[in-house]
Structure formats: C-alpha cells, structure tokens
C-alpha cells in the first residue's frame, strides 16, 4: 500500500474488537450501536467491517433483489380484447385494486412488463398479438386470461378463432373462467410474482 498511515487507520485487530472499533467509529455512533445491540460481546465478531458499523444492512444475491424489484412493479399492457377486458378493468378499479401490488396499466408495449391476453384471439388478430409481444422488451411475461385465450373457449369450434394464445406466444400463467373473477386475476398476478421469484437466476430473459 502506498500510504501506510491510512492502512493502519482501518486495520482491524481481531483480539481486541472494542479497541478496533473505537479507533475508527466516532463515539456517538458507538453509543448508538451499543444501544441497538445489547449483547456484551460484539455479535458481528469476525465479520466484515460494514456489519459492525451499520448493523441494519442486508446482504443478498443480486438476483433476489432484481427479482424483488421486477415482481413488485409489473406494468401490464392494456390489451383488452373482448369480454374479459371488462373484468380486467374491474380488477384495476377501486373495488379490487391492483395498484396496491404495483400493477399499473400501461398502453405502450415498449415499457410494459406483462401482457394480459384477455379475450379471444382470432386469426386476423394473431399477427398483431405476436408483433406486440415482440415489441415488449425482455424480461416479459404473459398471462392468458379467460377460457378463450387459454384454448379458444366457447368459440373454439369456429375456424377463424385461434385455439389458445399459447399457439403463438409463450404463456406463463393461465387463468380459467369465462370471464375469470377479479380475485382470480389477482391470484394470477400473485402466482406470476411467485414465479418471478422462483426463476430469479435467469437474469435478462
């Protein structure tokens, strides 16, 4: 080290922890630390310096923090196709609020995280759905809301209807119902949040 005096200032002597702290930490902070941690001996003995200075610091994997941030602020694309759109709007509204989960409906696909396909996808609409999905930046998820988006629903026997949106885009959560209750859609978002936390190793997917 170039500057030896500076290194000595921060050099920690393990056999006398109290003296090591008093060298660096001001008296006031030392007093507060004593108040907060009532044990006689330093519980953070042998641990990193920042744990003794700032005991309230959490340390975790970056994946966990990023996943936590992503799941708490899911912005769905306002993509109401048919009748399920009305229940999706009801879920956003005051009675079954979705904003408390951080879910904010966003009209543009460029800033949206999750695409809630609510309603029947016809073969005429399918290219637009695929284009919107591709316009969303990664990481992105898809919730297939309702029977029509899952497998064609009541209209599955008509040949202009796409029998499920998972034929063109990958789906993460399926919600059944015709239309699903707002509570079911809320449950879908919570399941998606659980899935995001479980999949947290795959950054940038």
């Amino acid at each position: 080290m170039a500057d030896d005096t500076k290194a000595e200032e921060f050099h920690v002597v393990h056999d006398d922890p109290a003296r090591a702290i008093s060298d660096v930490v001001p008296a006031e902070l030392r007093r507060r630390i004593k108040e907060l941690s009532p044990v006689e001996t330093d519980p953070n003995q042998g641990k990193a310096l920042y744990r003794r200075i700032l005991p309230g610091v959490l340390q975790m994997h970056a994946d966990t923090v990023i996943a936590l941030a992503r799941k708490s602020s899911l912005w769905p694309l306002t993509f109401g196709l048919a009748c399920c759109a009305i229940e999706m709007i009801s879920t956003h509204m005051a009675n079954h609020d979705l904003d408390r989960f951080g879910i904010l409906p966003w009209p543009s696909p460029r800033q949206a995280d999750v695409m809630v396909v609510s309603g029947t996808v016809t073969k005429k609409m399918a290219p637009a759905v695929k284009l919107l999905y591709e316009q969303m930046p990664s990481p992105k998820w898809v919730i297939s809301m309702g029977a029509c988006a899952t497998n064609g629903g009541p209209y599955t026997r008509y040949d202009r209807v796409l029998q499920g949106v998972d034929k063109i885009i990958p789906v993460d959560v399926y919600v059944s119902g015709c239309p699903p209750r707002p509570e079911a859609l809320m449950d879908a978002f919570i399941q998606l949040q659980k899935k995001i936390m479980e999949e947290r190793g795959k950054i940038g997917r």
């Binding site: 073969k123 026997r157 029998q163």
Partner: protein, 245 residues
Amino acid sequence: MSAAQERREPGVKETPIVPPPPGSVADTFKAALPDVEFVANQGVLDVILTVAPQDVPRVMRAAKDDPRLAFDFLRCLSGVDQMEQGLEVVYHLYSFKHAHNVTIKTLLPADDPQIPTISTVWNGALWHEREAHEMFGIVFQGHPDLRPLLLEEDLGYHPLLKSHPLAEIEESQEDFLREEAPAAAATAAGAPPAPVDERAAKIALAQKKAEAMKKAREEARAKGLSPEDEKAFVQEALKTLEEGS
C-alpha cells in the same frame, strides 16, 4: 350436398304460408307496384313478402320513395342458406312516418347468387351487404366496395354456409403450426394466389385427414393402446389415407 342432408335433423318442417289480414302493408305494396308478383305471408311480428330477385331494386326504391310506404329505415339485411333451394336474402324495413314494418325476402340460386345492390337506396346497406357477401358468397352487383369486412382478404371460403363444417379441436400446438406451414411455404415460393377450387380441395383434404385421425384415435382407445402406440397407429392411418388418395 350429402353432408348437408346428413346434418339435417329428422322432422324438419317447412314454414306454413298464412295470408296476411286485409288492409296490411302487403296490400299497399301491391297497390304501389301492381306488376310485381308478391307472395304475402303473415309472420309472427311482420308481414313477409317474397319477391323475385330481379324485382328487388324496384321494390326497394318504391318502398323508400312511395309516400304510402315511406320505408326510410333499413333494419337488417341477412342471408340465409336454404341448402338445396338456394340462398335467401332477407330485408327488414321500418317506416318512421307510418310506423309499420315489412320483411322482404328473395331466393337466389345456389350456384350463381347475384342480386343488385340496394346501397344506393339506403346507406346502411353498405356494410350489411359486405358481410352477407363474405359469409355466404352472395354477389351484390353495383356495390361500390365488396371487400371482406369481418374476415381476412381472399380467404377462399364462406363460413356461414351450411356446407362449411365447424373446426376440429386441435389437441396439440403442432396442429396449428403444421396447418400454417404449407401456406407459408407456398407464399415464400412466390406461388400465385390459389383459385377458389384448389383452396376448397385443400380444405376437403384436411377434413378427410381429420376424420381419419379421429377414427384412428377412437379405434386405438378402444383397443387400449398406450399413448405412443396410439400416435403410431394414427400416423399409420394417415399414411394409408395419403397412399390411397
């Protein structure tokens, strides 16, 4: 035609003809157009008049312009597929001035359904006729813009005809991709758009395949095969069908 006859349920009845009471709008029509032949029928709510297709433009123009009739509101224009008898076009009219209704029907031959347009009489007929054209194949002569409205362009078939079947439920995702792949390959090769007959032939072939697959699946399930054996059985059935055709 045999498929259509099979679909017809036993006990199909035709509508009985009941003449309307005197003084109804049928008499006004007959007075306004004495040389047009009307077959008048008292329906559940309105009087139903059946005319020949070539008389329709005159009847509609008189319905709107004649002060005794004054039908200024076209309620609805529908097509009905009457199978062997042909294609029917049904017009429902209402008059705000006299507060009376009428239903006017005409029957077109199934192989050449052409009728003059009435969009010159009522603007509201524009979209109704476009929809009837793409759903049934009825050609409205003189319509300014007979492009498909609800369906994609050059689809090749008319869905609401009775001869067009319902779609089969696709059990796996590959069914859809397999169906789209030949069409994509054709357009990639720069092939000209296939005429209607070829498309219909392709659809007939696909339907035959679907039938064969369904039969093979049922047989395999009856025999109690495992899923892999079932798949192999189905593939064999398809192969025999292709070799046979």
